[in-house]
């Protein structure tokens, strides 16, 4: 309880009136933030509020149009990420910035590899130091293996190790827990504690309020590129933060259940895949929201992609309505009214180099075209309709998707499959990385879809979301369905136990 009063502590990093303008967007307008040693400052804001842009300015990837950065009282200009690293600023970026074909050790040290006295890379020292770092964050991987052989969670751990490999006084984490499982998130929290004790100044960006209240000391809130509020975390509440973020109060509870279950619309029997999943069976009814829960890597996405025809199952059957069908491509699935909104929006969802309107119309080409000829007026009408429903924030419909923030890209992705007017829609992590306001919109929208008689499959790794939204939940672990819960049987504990396989151990 000997924590010194924060205001007495001189700030180790001050950002003074930073502005950054992109064509058509004022991503940051004259924001000032201070970071203090030994403290965690949470940065919150809606999608596109400018959080990641600030991180990139701080790490020398972007140069600010106005304003300056002061580190320990000295004004700095970072012409490149190397400058920022030298000055003692390190970051875990929102995008994974790693190299599949290089070894783990090299991924950690690239750019500042240990050298011998001839200036050549000292592989032995590098591997040793990498092992130490990985050990520190609880990762049990051999530093000499190639990164491409790692799962997604381990990759994220490597990114964290990389941030720690520089002896920095300022550590920035941009949504570090988005891809991590429960256990790994706990370890990350401990690490943050260690860093605090070591006197580092930490900037922590997250959309998850529970973790903000758990680990942050201070907060700063962005809205549309402006700083709209800051203070000590123990003097605020999530309601207040949300109000600051969106400029109005938001219902944080899930929308009430309005959907009614209709007749069975889809039946999956013994679906299997040689390497990804095995013997999955379930049924789905009109108006139902079926949740799929599991830890990252449980094989849910693979299962959904097999249903959608991206990959071929090795066994099992799929029935829609009364008809047994074989879907051998996404084109097939879309034609039969089954669509899949992928989890990886940058790679699988959006075509970022094309305008919003082209993206939205793409899966519906057969509807918007006649005899193979496209009709642009129809495409714009379609895009207008669905972007309005999802409250998309953009400048115009012919703007490239690449220029939108992460959350708004996700909206385009959802709009694009909704526009095909499906009967069954699979949403894979539909709210991953999107802000609270947008989240609520997506949730309300899912409810609306269900009450209109659509069947919804929702893959999610967030327990509150699963419990708040799903009518029924199937839990997957290591490619197998290990539990099924009706709405009244749902509890966070039950889900975690099933997903992590703790039950098994008790039985054994």
């Amino acid at each position: 309880m000997l924590k010194p009063a924060p205001s007495m502590n001189p700030a180790s990093l001050s950002l003074n009136r930073i502005s950054k303008v992109f064509p058509g967007v004022r991503a940051l307008s004259s924001v000032s933030i201070k970071l203090y040693p030994g403290q965690v400052t949470a940065l919150v804001g809606e999608n596109g509020a400018g959080k990641s842009t600030l991180v990139k300015v701080l790490t020398g990837i972007y140069q600010p149009d106005e304003g300056n950065i002061e580190l320990d009282g000295v004004t700095q200009t970072f012409a490149s990420p190397i400058d920022a690293a030298r000055a003692g600023i390190t970051a875990i970026h929102q995008e994974t910035v790693l190299f599949d074909e290089l070894s783990i050790a090299e991924n950690i040290f690239i750019g500042h590899a240990p050298r011998n006295r001839f200036g050549l890379i000292d592989w032995r020292t590098m591997n040793r130091r990498a092992a130490e770092l990985l050990d520190r964050i609880g990762a049990t991987v051999n530093p000499a293996t190639l990164l491409r052989d790692l799962g997604i969670a381990n990759k994220h751990l490597v990114a964290i190790a990389r941030a720690l490999s520089v002896d920095a006084s300022v550590v920035i984490m941009d949504e570090p827990t988005a891809a991590l499982s429960h256990k790994e998130i706990e370890e990350l929290y401990q690490l943050v504690e260690q860093l605090k004790v070591a006197g580092k100044a930490i900037l922590f960006i997250s959309h998850k309020f529970d973790e903000i209240f758990r680990i942050a000391d201070r907060y700063s809130v962005f809205r549309d590129g402006e700083l709209v509020g800051e203070g000590m975390i123990d003097q605020t509440s999530s309601g207040k933060l949300v109000e600051l973020m969106v400029g109005r109060s938001v219902d944080s509870v899930f929308p009430p259940r309005t959907n009614e279950l209709g007749e069975e619309i889809m039946r999956v029997d013994g679906f299997s895949h040689p390497t990804e999943f095995e013997d999955i069976s379930f049924t789905l009814r009109r108006g139902e929201i079926l949740g799929f829960y599991g830890l990252v890597g449980a094989g849910r996405s693979e299962l959904m992609q097999a249903l959608f025809g991206v990959t071929r199952p090795s066994a099992g059957s799929l029935q829609m309505g009364v008809e047994k069908i074989v879907i051998d491509s996404p084109a097939d699935a879309i034609a039969r009214g089954l669509v899949y909104v992928p989890e990886d929006r940058g790679r699988q969802g959006a075509i970022t180099g094309l305008p919003i309107v082209d993206n939205v119309a793409l899966p519906s080409l057969s509807q918007t075209s006649k005899n193979g000829f496209v009709r642009m007026a129809r495409e714009f009408a379609l895009a207008r309709q669905y972007t309005r429903r999802l409250e998309l924030k953009a400048a115009a419909l012919d703007q490239n998707v690449a220029q939108l923030s992460g959350g708004n890209q996700q909206k385009v992705v959802i709009a694009k499959w909704l526009a095909t007017r499906p009967t069954v829609i699979i949403l894979d992590e539909p709210t991953k990385g999107i802000d609270i306001g947008s989240k609520a919109a997506v949730h309300a929208f899912m409810r609306e879809l269900a009450s209109q008689g659509l069947a919804v499959i929702m893959v999610s790794s967030e327990i509150p979301e699963i419990i708040g939204m799903a009518d029924r939940v199937i839990v997957m672990r290591e490619g197998r369905a290990v539990g099924a819960f009706e709405r009244d049987e749902l509890s966070p504990e039950a889900l975690v136990v099933a997903a992590a396989g703790i039950e098994d151990e008790r039985v054994a």
Binding site: H93, E106, G111, A113, G297
Partner: protein
Amino acid sequence: MSRDAILALALIAMIGLVSVRFPGFASPDSLLGVFNDTSILIILALGQMAVVLTRCIDLSMASNLALTGMCCAMLNAAYPQLPIVLLLVVAMLIGALLGSINGVLVWKLDIPPIVVTLGTLTIFRGVIFLISDGQWVNAHEMSPAFKALPRAEVLGLPMLSWVALICIALMYFVVTRTPQGRAFFAVGGNPDAAVYTGIDVGRTRFNAFVLSGALSGICGYLWVSRYAVAYVDIAGGFELDVVAACVIGGISIAGGIGSVAGAVLGALFLGVIKNALPVVNISPFWQQAISGAAIIIAVVFNARAERRSGRIILRQAETT
């Protein structure tokens, strides 16, 4: 088994096959001859590898070689007393300069490398015509020392082979032990991430182009002195052979993957084919089709070797 090992085996198998019909082919002398003959292709493939690793491509290498070669030949014809070592350095510098033109355009103007080098491919050739007025430089206009260097034997191996060996060794060193060499892999493997790690993507690509240019320059001198003639069209179309050698050697055209051993083996693979066909008395008209087929087979094969079955996490789940 690694891709390089498989390729090496294929190479040995091919040599074995040829020597069934013509036993002399597998003799050390003959094999050294093949290596010597392939030296220039090897050196060029090493340069191309550096460029391809950074997710670029250099189609101007053969034109660079020809232009540098012509410069060397004309210099030698005009000043026969110029020391050859100096000429070799000049060749390297001219090559590097030409390479840096590619590099600057890619770096500073962000023009796609294939466009830049497609442009310089024709420009460099045209410049040869301009500086030489279309005239050939023939053997009798070159000084004896000029022609002697690639042929001079040291420890039973011609200098041409030695130069290739030195280039291989240096390149291996650069690629595995220097930060710049590792940056080639990083830039090609994930350019966006490279920016975040503080690697200057543009400058790294520039360096790769300068390197490939310098190696092309050296080859320019070697080619002209070896064949004792310089004219506009030398090494015409050779750029595709160089790319083919890299691809056969398992260097991913998408960047970030490749090894020095791969580049050397890929070049040797083509070299053996080219040398073996006349030896086993296959009609010269079959040559082109056979090397085309070999390239396709190698690519199919490489792709098979690269294909992995399932993702790691779930493979582990399978076994548990």
